[in-house]
């Protein structure tokens, strides 16, 4: 947890990749950390990722085809942890970890993870996850969306830890050119109801967007942009440079 606090102390640079997409997947995460990412979201691939757009869907397909399972993802996390002090968040759908949730969380913690985000477990379904995250000292990270009513933001924020992930638009993950117009207004509202640091993500794909987000939030999440690069098999050094450039903040 303290790694998350540290990352959010001065603009958290949150980078997502699907684990097991590409050979030596851990190297991609490490490259992102070298490029300045201080929170790494490690995605467990799932056959039916309904919250994700095409870029991440394809990455999950490739990863599953290469034989990635939960055990392999935990191995990847261990390797990342040996190489960086960036915070690690496991990013997953529920079914792959459901049948042995407590064991999974204990293993994730032991492998070096700092937090968990389960995409398809809304507040009402997540009481066991919240309890177990507290037990194993993992941050339990929740998402709020533009449509989330204020009373719900309060409920979610009060029952989460680490940071709050504000998915700034409707739809699925992917690349977009612009931030939504009502972002500042919405973030001001979210902050009223949450004492947690707030990271903004969903569609962030260039440095102008990142700069604007850093002006109003504590962190910025970049996902599909990096996943797309990995799918094109960019060299590690270039991925590192991409992270450095997109997260650059002056």
């Amino acid at each position: 947890m303290s790694r998350i606090v540290k990352a959010f102390a001065n603009k958290a640079k949150v980078a997502y990749l699907t684990a097991g997409d590409g050979e030596n997947s851990e190297q991609y995460f490490i490259a992102l950390a070298k490029g300045g990412a201080n929170v790494l979201e490690v995605g467990i691939p799932f056959s039916d990722p309904t919250a994700d757009g095409l870029i991440i869907q394809k990455a999950m397909e490739r990863s599953l085809k290469a034989g990635t399972d939960v055990k392999k993802v935990l191995e990847i996390i261990k390797q990342i942890r040996l190489n960086t002090e960036a915070a690690i968040i496991v990013f997953t759908y529920f079914n792959p970890i459901r049948s042995n949730l407590e064991y999974f969380l204990a293993q994730a913690k032991q492998s070096g993870a700092d937090g968990v985000l389960v995409v398809d477990l809304p507040f009402e379904e997540s009481s066991e996850l919240r309890f177990l995250c507290a037990k194993y000292d993992l941050a339990n990270i929740s998402v709020t969306a533009p449509s989330t009513p204020l009373s719900r933001i309060k409920l979610i924020a009060n029952n989460s830890s680490g940071f709050l992930y504000y998915a700034c638009r409707k739809g699925t993950t992917g690349l977009r050119d612009e931030l939504p117009l009502d972002l500042i207004e919405r973030i001001t509202e979210v902050r009223k109801y949450s004492s947690l640091p707030v990271a903004i993500g969903f569609g962030v794909s260039n440095n102008q967007m990142v700069q604007r987000i850093f002006k109003i939030a504590d962190g910025c999440v970049v996902g599909s942009y990096f996943v797309d690069a990995v799918s094109k098999q960019v060299p590690l050094a270039q991925l590192e440079l991409m992270a450095a450039n997109i997260f650059n903040y002056d």
Partner: protein, 578 residues
């Protein structure tokens, strides 16, 4: 919200309570309780509770330590509850492998309790402002106040006992199940729920509200019923298939509920029209839907033309090829058909794409889910719109033969036609309910869509239910000759009926379904859908199991026109060539 039911004394009640969704079943051992069980009774109740999926709590009040240890040794207990000062003094001497439920009084909480393992229980005392433990509330909880009591606390569960009794010490199972449904309306026993990204919660809550208000109004129901009568062709006929029975060499009277005679050719229109009308009433102008066989797609496209709504249908590319006539119909009706090429390019992937669309479009769009599955309220709402099938059939059966059917048989993909016809008969426990899944070409994972024989519970598309999945929790590929049954999950109410053993689920292979398809066509002049042919195939295969003087009811959920081009090019090509 966890549910703990205390003071159960019979294994039968324990089993139904557990399957009904209770998480914990409490056994009382103290002589002072009218609900006291002996060790032998406790063993039987604990076993039944475990079979039903609940954990067993031993509640101690005034027992000696030796007696407690003896009970722990002999009965399969999961958790110990300490109630009152006598037993609380043993806390540090107990085997701490057992989690403890510690009944809190106004004294200090004992320091040896572990907040990551143990629970508190607050019964009839004010809750402190800060509670570090997971805790239950109990005492004076009634149907009228339970929701308010839950909302006023931050409890992890409720503990119920005397409010559920017929007379002192005797539990009323109907009351228990009512209470569980009240506390967890989104579930059928353990199954169902609402597993969706946060983004989809607001539109789902909006839908639920519309369904519970507009959808339940007399005005809405009258309008829907009128449309079903005048535009869709309800009620549908009940047909006795004498020649078909003769061909099976049986005296069993076989009746078909003719949903195939409905406008658009299947039961799907009952639900599609219900949802589209509701959507229009709460201000949506665009409808999206998934479809497998294309029946739900055609039904939705038709409802949209009737009501003046825009319509987009997601359909797997594999299904587009094998159900070509329906694709053409949807396009003629003005719908946009989107080919889904991801994953297995069948029904499951079409649902994925529809959910993705909805996450972006819900301001003006309703997702008209076609089967009795998905996040709450879909399973309940779809079953509701389909229950007209069973209500009519029951009435017709009484009129025609003066009694209820011996068995009701329906094919089960997601399970909407089956839940529609089962619904009216669930209360008549003597009537056997039989669901028939797709046996495909093999009973190995990937060769069928038999969730109850090849699957296990998991979460897909917003609900917890029986699911075809790999060891790693990835959703398995499925196979069926019938696109409408070719799906990895089953509606959560079917999962519940299966566990309760109120319905039994079987399967028919591709080949068996095809043979039944041909037999009904030849003997009766009715061309059934390949989906419905699975229900027919079950009867052909198992005709011996029905008593000779009985009458059975099969839901003929749809007609087979849509299957002909594909069959005539493939399995039935000899017809084309002869």
């Amino acid at each position: 919200m966890l549910i703990k039911i205390c003071g159960i004394t019979s294994p039968e009640v324990a089993l139904t309570t557990a399957i009904g969704g209770a998480d914990y079943i409490g056994l009382l051992f103290s002589d002072i309780s009218p609900r006291k069980v002996t060790i032998e009774q406790a063993k039987a109740v604990a076993q039944a509770a475990h079979v039903g999926g609940a954990k067993v709590v031993a509640v101690f009040v005034d027992e000696e330590l030796a007696a407690i240890n003896n009970i722990l040794k002999q009965v399969a207990i999961d958790i110990i509850q300490l109630h009152g000062p006598v037993v609380k003094q043993y806390l540090t001497q107990l085997d701490r492998n057992y989690p403890i439920i510690y009944v809190a009084d106004n004294n200090e909480i004992q320091p040896s309790l572990d907040r990551f393992k143990d629970f508190l229980l607050y019964e009839n005392i004010a809750l402190p402002s800060k509670i570090d433990f997971r805790y239950f509330i109990a005492g004076g909880i009634s149907k009228e106040n339970v929701i308010a009591r839950i909302n006023a606390s931050n409890c992890i569960g409720v503990d119920l006992s005397s409010s559920l009794e017929l007379t002192k010490g005797i539990k009323d199972i109907t009351k228990i199940l009512e209470f569980i449904k009240l506390i967890r309306p989104e579930r059928f026993g353990r199954f169902g729920g609402r597993y969706v990204p946060e983004l989809l919660i607001p539109p789902i809550l909006q839908l639920q509200q519309a369904y519970e208000t507009i959808g339940q109004s007399l005005e809405f129901r009258n309008e829907l019923n009128l449309l079903l009568k005048n535009n869709v062709g309800r009620p549908t006929a009940l047909t006795e298939v004498v020649n078909f029975a003769k061909a099976l060499n049986t005296k069993v009277r076989i009746f078909l509920k003719r949903e195939d005679l409905l406008h658009t050719g299947a039961h799907k229109i009952n639900n599609a029209l219900g949802q589209c009308l509701l959507a229009k009433k709460f201000g949506k102008t665009r409808i999206i839907a998934e479809t497998g066989a294309g029946q739900h797609g055609v039904a939705t496209a038709t409802a949209c033309s009737m009501l003046g709504l825009d319509c987009v249908i997601y359909m797997g590319q594999v299904d587009i090829v094998r159900q070509a006539p329906n694709v053409a119909k949807m396009k003629l009706l003005g719908a946009k058909v989107v080919s889904v090429e991801s994953g297995s390019a069948t029904l499951k992937d079409a649902v994925n794409e529809a959910l993705r669309d909805w996450a972006e479009s819900y301001d003006n769009t309703h997702y008209c889910l076609g089967s009795a599955l998905g996040p709450h309220p879909f399973p309940t709402m779809v079953a509701d719109f389909q229950k007209i099938i069973g209500i009519e059939a029951k009435q017709q059966f009484k009129e025609v033969i003066g009694q209820l059917p011996y068995a009701v048989i329906a094919c089960v993909g997601g399970g909407s036609n089956a839940i529609g016809i089962f619904g009216a008969f669930i209360e008549n426990v003597a009537v056997k309910l039989i669901g028939v899944e797709a046996g495909g070409t093999s009973l190995k994972l990937g060769g069928n869509a038999s969730r109850f024989s090849a699957g296990k519970p998991g979460v897909l598309h917003g609900n917890y239910t029986y699911l075809l999945q790999t060891e790693d929790g990835q959703i398995a590929n499925t196979h069926s000759i019938s696109a409408g049954l070719d799906y990895a999950a089953v509606g959560p109410q079917h999962a519940y009926l299966h566990e309760l053993q109120r319905a039994q689920y079987s399967n028919a292979t591709d080949q068996e379904a095809l043979e039944a398809f041909l037999l009904l066509t030849k003997t009766e002049g009715i061309i059934p859908a390949l989906e419905s042919s699975h229900a027919l195939a079950y009867v052909v295969k198992n005709i011996q199991q029905f008593p000779q003087d009985s009458a059975i009811l099969i839901n003929l959920s749809g007609r087979g026109d849509k299957d002909l081009p594909s069959l005539l090019n493939g399995e039935l090509s000899y017809v084309t060539n002869s």
